[in-house]
């Protein structure tokens, strides 16, 4: 088991406040561009927030021995706004999102501050995370690698290669989340590919320690990870709602990518405020 002593606490109220702020910031940015994967970002808001604010350890200089790799690259809007709040990315960076003179696009690009790997094509992240975990082990450093996969990404054969590698190589310093919102472009995965489920059993069968939690319950996510037995890679199957927080976005596939109109924006902003109050 890794040293947990330097880990932050999970303050539920603070997490709720941050997540509201992040969703609102993403909503604001949505008005600058035609599309930004808003539903995908809202789906994993609490997970990514918990990784950065609850799970990753911080040294006094603000750096972390741990690594976060956003395997579901299309969800990176939440990563960007978290990195902005942490001062890693600037407000100008976010203002220039997807603009010709900016450096942030719809998928994370390695080389940008706080971005540990380029993703966007699905099924790449978990193998890279395994490589990072092996490097930490080879160097006798104790960094933990955190990664978030989309559930659609778990259909990629390459993801299953990596699932097999992580447990076969005993990567106990790898913690992965599946953002299991059950939605893909063509509908509910449970309807289009029912054999996809049960997910927990599959990861467990491959030798991972696995739990299923409510992916919008920050404390549950935090406690699931911090109470893991260890010795094996850890998988959190996080049950989530695509577009979480905005009624007309929730579980409606078009909001995978679309930006709201000004009228839709106003409704979304009001709903987010109301839910938080």
């Amino acid at each position: 088991m890794h040293d947990m002593t330097r880990r932050n606490f999970c303050d539920e109220a603070a997490a709720r406040e941050r997540c509201l702020r992040f969703r609102k910031r993403i909503l604001d940015i949505s008005q600058q561009v035609q599309a930004l994967h808003i539903g995908s970002a809202y789906s994993c808001t609490e997970i990514v927030d918990c990784i950065y604010y609850g799970l990753m350890r911080r040294k006094p200089d603000g750096t972390s021995p741990d690594t976060f790799l956003m395997s579901k690259g299309h969800g990176c809007m939440i990563q960007y706004v978290v990195l902005e709040e942490r001062g890693v990315l600037s407000r100008e960076d976010l203002d220039l999102y997807c603009k010709p003179n900016g450096r942030l696009g719809c998928h994370p690009d390695y080389g940008n501050p706080g971005i540990e790997a380029s993703t966007g094509s699905l099924g790449h992240g978990l193998s890279m995370a395994v490589g990072m975990a092996l490097a930490e082990r080879g160097r006798r450093t104790d960094g933990i690698i955190y990664t978030v996969l989309s559930d659609g990404e778990v259909q990629e054969g390459s993801t299953w290669e990596a699932v097999m590698m992580a447990s076969s190589f005993g990567c106990s310093n790898l913690v992965a989340f599946v953002d299991n919102n059950d939605f893909q472009s063509l509908g509910r995965t449970s309807e289009t590919h029912p054999s996809f489920y049960p997910l927990v059993d599959k990861f467990t069968a491959f030798g991972w320690e696995t739990v299923e939690v409510d992916g919008h319950d920050s404390l549950a996510v935090f406690e699931a990870v911090t109470s893991r037995r260890g010795g094996r890679p850890f998988m959190v199957v996080a049950k989530t709602t695509k577009g979480k927080g905005v009624s007309y976005m929730e579980n409606v596939p078009i909001w995978h990518y679309r930006s709201p109109s000004p009228k839709e924006y106003a409704q979304a902003a009001a709903e987010l405020e109301k839910a938080a109050s």
Binding site: A117, H124, V130, G131, A133, L134, A135, G157, M164
Partner: protein
Amino acid sequence: MRNTFSEALYKAATANPDVYIVVADISPAGSMGKFRDQYPERFINVGVAEQSMIGICAGLALKGCQPFAYTIATFTLYRPFEMVRDDLCYQNLPVTVVGMGAGVIYSTLGGTHHTQEDIAIAGALPNMQIIAPCDPAECTEATLYCAQQRKGPIYLRLGKAGEPNFTDKAAVDPWQFGKLRYIKRGADVCILSYGIIMQKAMQLAEKFEAQGKSVSVVSCHTLKPLDIAGIEAALHRHKHVIVIEEHAPQGGLASRTKQVAWDTRAQCRLDTFTLQDAFIHNYGSHDELLAAHGLELGAIAARVGAGAAP
């Protein structure tokens, strides 16, 4: 050549604790066994999972390591192509993708095991560098280079076993990444080649020399970035230039040399010999497969006017 590679890699790994090898279920030839026994944490066997092999190499490199991905060329480059492109080239990571047994060396295993278009494919990728040593001695130099360079990904195209050495004793030039290497320097004819088909280039040179001609033989081991100035000089300093390569006609040394010849208004005679733009469905030895596509010494010699036996 694979044993030479293994020995060089073992040396590099002994000197540098960040050197890793990630293999996809390939038998540990030569010193690879020594590597596995002495540095088990840095010898990673993914099994038959080449996409993960490349992804793991990328993850290691993102943490500052110097990994090599290693299996038969079709399976290091073709099978995980998108991982090579996105994880290695797009992120520009110093990972060496080793294509063992490239070309049609696996002659009896059929087209699934042939890499006839790998230079074109790897060469199309931004940031990718390509090295194809012509003999075991060059393989050592190339491997040691790959183990310490930090510029970006490299496709290292290797032969298999039993290749003769041409460059270990009498080569005119030393091996230098990105530069043509004259093994022999002459005035009349220049033969440009790379990889283990260099054997035919050397034999062809002997035939010309028997006719009293002065022949250059050049190892174009670095296919990307190609030494354009070196190719230009070869085209302009010889009356007759011949390219011999074990690769499809498009995207390899032959087409690049023709491009340089046109761009620089070269006046020499230029003959190129390549594999054809066709799969090979017949079997036999490596030489017999090359001959099926016209890469046979007698046929080449006849075409270029070196037909008389030495």
